[in-house]
Amino acid sequence: MTIFTFYLFDRNGTCLYYAEWNRKKQLTMSKDEEFKLMYGMLFSIKSFASRLSPTDMKEGFLNFTTSKYKLHFFETPSGLKLILNTDLSVGNMKDVLQQIFSSIYVEYVVKNPLCQLDQPITSELFKYKLDEYVKSLSAFQTSKTAS
């Protein structure tokens, strides 16, 4: 199991933070373009999912899977979007994303008056805490399970 990338978008579609671990293949497009594509895709898939739903739903889209990776999505009522890309064997990451929001984003960004909430996050502390947390997850352990 492993974790590839993490994205954090604010309600306006600005990519506040991006981090990668074990991402081997680099894309040919720029990061900005990738963020824009990612946000656009999430926006569409969210409205598509809620339109198709037979009943009103509170939290619609949670994750999707391709043959190579799994994308986990979590949105707070305030419109903050957290995305985690992992490999296929990883289970539900909703609690993990919730945890990143409540004990890392809120603690180290929202409560830091120097951090503008609509600007990309530059706080080293946030960066460090996030990295530490993700690496401590059981889903992150690569070497042991890699065959």
């Binding site: 306006n12 926006f43 509170k58 409540s102």
Partner: protein, 180 residues
């Protein structure tokens, strides 16, 4: 995580009197700086708004709550969860308008005004106007455009403090910019 570690001594709690007096000092300073009650109200609202915008994230993280289904549920959550969490009191929700888009929060006591007497000549001052700003800012972040204002205030001789909230519209998610 460190969150739990902090909770033992809970550094987030401060002495209630210190809080009240600090707020009083803030308002007094604003009155010195602006000398016009309307301006002071506006500043308090603006400060509150900036607090609310951040406070909502803390609230969501702590209450761990999903989206409300309607404005009535929102009113309940504000009164029973949010006020309890941040001010330690539970206002009464009442005076719903017929359309269900307007209600009042009735506060029997207000920790902000505990030692306060308004001197004469400040009839237009809404001493606790910061609260209006906080509510407005927080609700705006969860896609609700709401007007918040004081209707009655015990400081002005009313029996009860009443904050009126009026729902204007739902704010929509930002649509991503068109692909180029």
């Amino acid at each position: 995580m460190s969150r739990q570690a902090n909770r033992a001594g809970d550094p987030r709690k401060v002495n209630g009197e210190l809080f009240t007096l600090t707020y009083g000092a803030l308002v007094a300073q604003l009155i010195k700086d602006y000398e016009n009650d309307e301006q002071v109200n506006k500043q308090l609202d603006k400060m509150g708004y900036n607090m609310g915008v951040r406070l909502i994230e803390d609230f969501l993280a702590r209450a761990n709550m999903g989206r409300c289904n309607d404005f009535r549920e929102t009113a309940d959550v504000i009164a029973k969860v949010a006020f309890k969490m941040y001010l330690g009191l539970t206002p009464v929700v009442s005076n719903w308008s017929a359309a269900g888009d307007e209600f009042s929060l009735l506060l029997e006591s207000n920790p902000l005004t505990e030692f306060v007497e308004l001197p004469s000549g400040h009839n237009n001052l809404n001493y606790s106007n910061l609260m209006c700003g906080v509510l407005r800012g927080a609700l705006e972040m969860v896609q609700m455009d709401v007007d918040v204002r004081f209707v009655q205030d015990t400081l002005k001789g009313d029996n009860i403090t009443e904050i009126r909230l009026k729902f204007n519209k739902r704010l929509e998610d930002a649509v991503p910019v068109g692909e180029d």
